[in-house]
Symmetry: C2
Subunit: 251 residues, 2 copies
């Protein structure tokens, strides 16, 4: 089963981002996982953990994620030359990650092509950054650029959405902080690629607005992991997602 | 002293890229370092080592690099949201790295701004990716884009060179595989920011052509680390650099 199919079968639309800092990272990550796993579909790990921990520790975390019936996403935002990208992707896939994130700005040849090939060979997923969630993302993701193939001007994120389709990405990442663009990317993807939306709550994105705009999965980090009661917060968010989806289906 | 000043005082223009794979990575990295250090100015570490090793092991490597009188560059190509970028940069600076690489596509606000501020506060360097060395880099680094400030069309790498100046980056990275663009970026930077050039030899870049086009430092990885005699290769490359520079100064 493909990564996208596995995700679509999960009972929650929330992805837990383990954005932790400080000491005893692996132990604390495992503790939060144990508290939150009933309310999420997958766990996203990024440089908060991959820089301080070694690959064996990350693999231990991935096994714990899988043991609880969840999928594991490495948010490494791949953007290097192909030979390095391939080494990095091999290490993460070998550690058990089900999907990796990649920056389409890198380009295809000797860039992301080896990573997409590796993912296909190993039945793993690649999620492409179409528009990030921070304020400065507008500087370049929204930039007006010449599209050589159609000889027309487009926004960079439109080109990235088209690349996600062309490359058959398993997901497109669009920040929840810009619902108008989220809705536009949703149209561009024609229902063929699910949208993963970070930037919920702490960065300002709203669950209701993001779901209405077309987000398929909501990535939540600090609002859960920095809460005094992560389990309760995750349960509440999950309920809010389900109620919102029911309302959207109803209306 | 700033990172750029420290680099300018080093006796070699070659930067060793420790692009290793396989077992015993730290031991093998230390061994190559011991063989090659007399012929290089700095050592660049990227995801080949930062993914499998933990931050304590990277710190051990940085200490060994410093003990041999060299500078240590972490080629992490920063491209995340500011909060994650800051955590990553803090970890790498705390481990002792003298400079980090960053992707200007990320944008400034809540993107690279916190990283540049952190580097300034800690007297460390930030090297900005102006044009990468792989084939697919042309897809976006060379893309014709609208520059809002001048209301004119430019290539993306021209915008990135301007950002390197605006942000007072400590270096600009331009692939050795495109000497024409290297020369153009050299002009745009007006001698204010040194150019670091990867893609030498194995990826097709030439030492003579790159130096002539304006590269200040040459990043060499596989040609040295995959050689049966890394020390001999590094010594030969260093001699070739010095001869070429003498010829360029003479002519």
């Amino acid at each position: 089963m493909s990564f996208a199919e596995l995700m679509s079968k999960s009972k929650s639309r929330i992805i837990l981002a383990l954005d932790l800092t400080g000491p005893s990272l692996l132990d604390r990550a495992l503790k939060i996982l144990d508290e939150v796993y009933p309310y999420v579909s997958a766990v996203k790990v990024n440089r908060h953990l991959s820089v301080p921990l070694n690959i064996e520790e990350l693999s231990k975390l991935v096994h714990a994620i899988h043991d609880r019936g969840l999928l594991a996403i490495m948010d490494c935002k791949i953007n290097d030359v192909g030979s390095t990208n391939k080494v990095m992707a091999e290490l993460f896939f070998h550690a058990g990650f089900d999907a990796l994130t990649a920056s389409p700005f890198t380009g295809w040849k000797e860039g992301l092509e080896p990573v997409f090939n590796l993912a296909k060979d190993n039945s793993r997923g690649i999620l492409v950054l179409v528009y990030m969630s921070h304020e400065g993302a507008s500087e370049n993701y929204e930039r007006l650029v010449l599209d050589r193939s159609s000889i027309s001007y487009k926004r960079m994120y439109e080109i990235f959405a088209e690349k996600a389709l062309l490359w058959r990405a398993d997901g497109a990442i669009v920040g929840a902080t810009r619902p108008r663009i989220l809705a536009e990317v949703k149209r561009l993807l024609k229902g063929k690629i699910p949208i993963y939306s970070p930037g919920i709550i702490v960065q300002g994105g709203s669950i209701e607005v993001s779901l209405k705009a077309g987000a398929d999965y909501l990535i939540v980090g600090r609002a859960i992991v920095e809460a005094p009661n992560p389990s309760q917060v995750a349960a509440n968010l999950n309920r809010l997602v389900e109620e919102t989806l029911a309302r959207l289906r109803g209306g």
